[in-house]
Subunit: 142 residues, 3 copies
Amino acid sequence: MWVQKRVQLKARARGFHLITEELLSAVPELVNYRVGVLHAFIQHTSASLSVNENADPDVRMDLERHFNQAVPENAPYYAHTLEGSDDMPAHIKTVMIGTALSLPITNGELALGVWQGIYLCEHRDHGGARTIVITLQGECFA
Amino acid sequence: MWVQKRVQLKARARGFHLITEELLSAVPELVNYRVGVLHAFIQHTSASLSVNENADPDVRMDLERHFNQAVPENAPYYAHTLEGSDDMPAHIKTVMIGTALSLPITNGELALGVWQGIYLCEHRDHGGARTIVITLQGECFA
Amino acid sequence: MWVQKRVQLKARARGFHLITEELLSAVPELVNYRVGVLHAFIQHTSASLSVNENADPDVRMDLERHFNQAVPENAPYYAHTLEGSDDMPAHIKTVMIGTALSLPITNGELALGVWQGIYLCEHRDHGGARTIVITLQGECFA
C-alpha cells in the first residue's frame, strides 16, 4: 500500500524548527498503516531534515549557533559566493544533516521516542516555502 | 512481508560501539528475505546509528575523540545546559550522524561490505539502555 | 515489486562527484514504477553518498575544501594511522555524511528537486572503483 504526497511547508526563518504536526497533517492516511515506514524528502539543497528533541526550544537555538560556528560564512576557501554569504554554508550543512528521513510506523502512528520531533533545518536567511515529498508504505489494517 | 521489533540494547559507555551481532540476533526472520531493506531507528535524541569499519577498534576511539573535538562540551554559546555538560553536545552529534539506518538485504543477509559494521554512537556519559525499532520489508523466499 | 542491482562506479579522484546519470543508467527498471523508493547503499567505509547542487561545480570543490578543514589529516589524537593520513579522516567524513540514500520515485523518475543531484563523496586519495547496492521498491504501472 503506497501513498505519496507533496507538502509545501510555510516559509520559516533561518534556524531549526519543529514541524512534526505540520508534516503529519498532510498524511491523514497514516492511521491506516499497522506497520510501515514514512519517508520524507526535501527537494532543496540548502535546507535539511532531522529528528531531535521536541521539548526545550533552547536545543534548537543551540543547534543553530553550533552549526554557524562549525560552518562559517565567508570562509576564505569558498569559491561559490555569488548567491550570498549564507548560501555555501547552507549547502555544507545540508550535506552534513541530510535531505531525507525514514521513520517507522506502528499502529497508525509514527514510532518516535517520547522526546523526538521532526525538524526542518532552514539554512538560508530567506529560504521561502520548502517542498517535501512524503511517501508512505506498509501493511494496512484489514 | 513486514516484520517489526523493538530491541533494547544493553547500556554502553560513551563512545562508538559495534552492535551488528546484537541487532541481528533480534531479527532471525531476516533469513526469510530474498531481497529487501532493514530499517533501524533509535528512539532517542542523544545517541545515533551509523555504519563504519568493523575491524580496528582504534577507528571507533578516533571517532569519539574527533567528535568531542568538533562538538565541545561547555561551548560559550550553549543555553541548554541544565541536563549536564554532555547533553547538548550529544544532541548536536545525533543531528550530525543521524537516528536511522536503511540497509539492503540480499539472500537472507544484510548486504554490508566486508569491512562494514553497524555502530551505536553513545553520546551521553550514562545513556543507559537504548531502544531501537527494527522494521524488515521485502520479498521472501517462496 | 522489488529489483536489486550491484553497480561498480568507475574510480574517481578524491572529492565530491555528481553520479546521478551513472547510477540511474544501472536501473532502467525505474521507468516501471508509478510510486516508490530507490535505495542506494555504498559498501565502503571511506566514501559516502549525498544529495546536493547539480549546477555550479564550485559547490563540490568548496565541500571538499570545507570537509578537509573540518576533518584534518594527521590530527594529534588519531591512533588509526597505518593505512595512510587520508584514511582516518575518510572514516570520519563517511560517518558524518552517511552511506545510504533513500529517494522518492514518482511516475517512473526520481522525484529530485530541480537543483538536486546524487553525489559520490570520495574521501580517499586512491579509493578505486566503489560498489553500490541499488534496491528499487514500489508500485508499478499496471
